[in-house]
């Protein structure tokens, strides 16, 4: 899976904003790019980082490539964070 890749992917503000966009609905690469003041090539790079981290998946339709949020990795992160936090009244059964 790779927490390093996932956290690194989430550490960039542009990539977090992309994910927020995809929260609403899937979007083509171009539509995503139109929300930023950067070249399409740069957005394509960011999408590849998100894809490698399995935070999004893509599906081609004709000349368009659509990107969609993949929430399953988010679950894994939340489990990791929750475990680090200590799960107060459940894991520590001596209370």
């Amino acid at each position: 899976m790779g927490f390093a890749e996932t956290f690194k992917a989430l550490s960039d503000p542009v990539r977090r904003e992309i994910l927020q966009l995809l929260k609403q609905r899937r979007m083509s690469a171009g539509e995503i790019a139109s929300n930023f003041e950067m070249t399409g090539a740069t957005i394509s790079y960011h999408l590849s980082v998100l894809k490698k981290a399995e935070l999004v998946f893509e599906s081609r339709e004709g000349t368009f490539i659509y990107y969609e949020l993949n929430t399953s990795v988010l679950e894994d992160l939340m489990v990791w964070l929750s475990d680090l936090k200590g799960v107060p009244s459940y894991e520590q059964t001596e209370n």
Copy 2:
């Protein structure tokens, strides 16, 4: 607060392992360092990154500096992730 800083801090495997160590109990910088095959200076750098991200706080005791996990930021991350994930049966009231 700064999600960028926090996610970036969590993206490094050494820093994640430090947090896992601190999950059990607070530790001095030297004790933390003894768990890794790196110089104390490097661990000190990683601790400063974690501190800037507010994932740990420190308290000096004599010549020792103790580091302790700060869980409050973890909560914020979990809220952000949970919101991205979509909070299925609560936020979308039309179900």
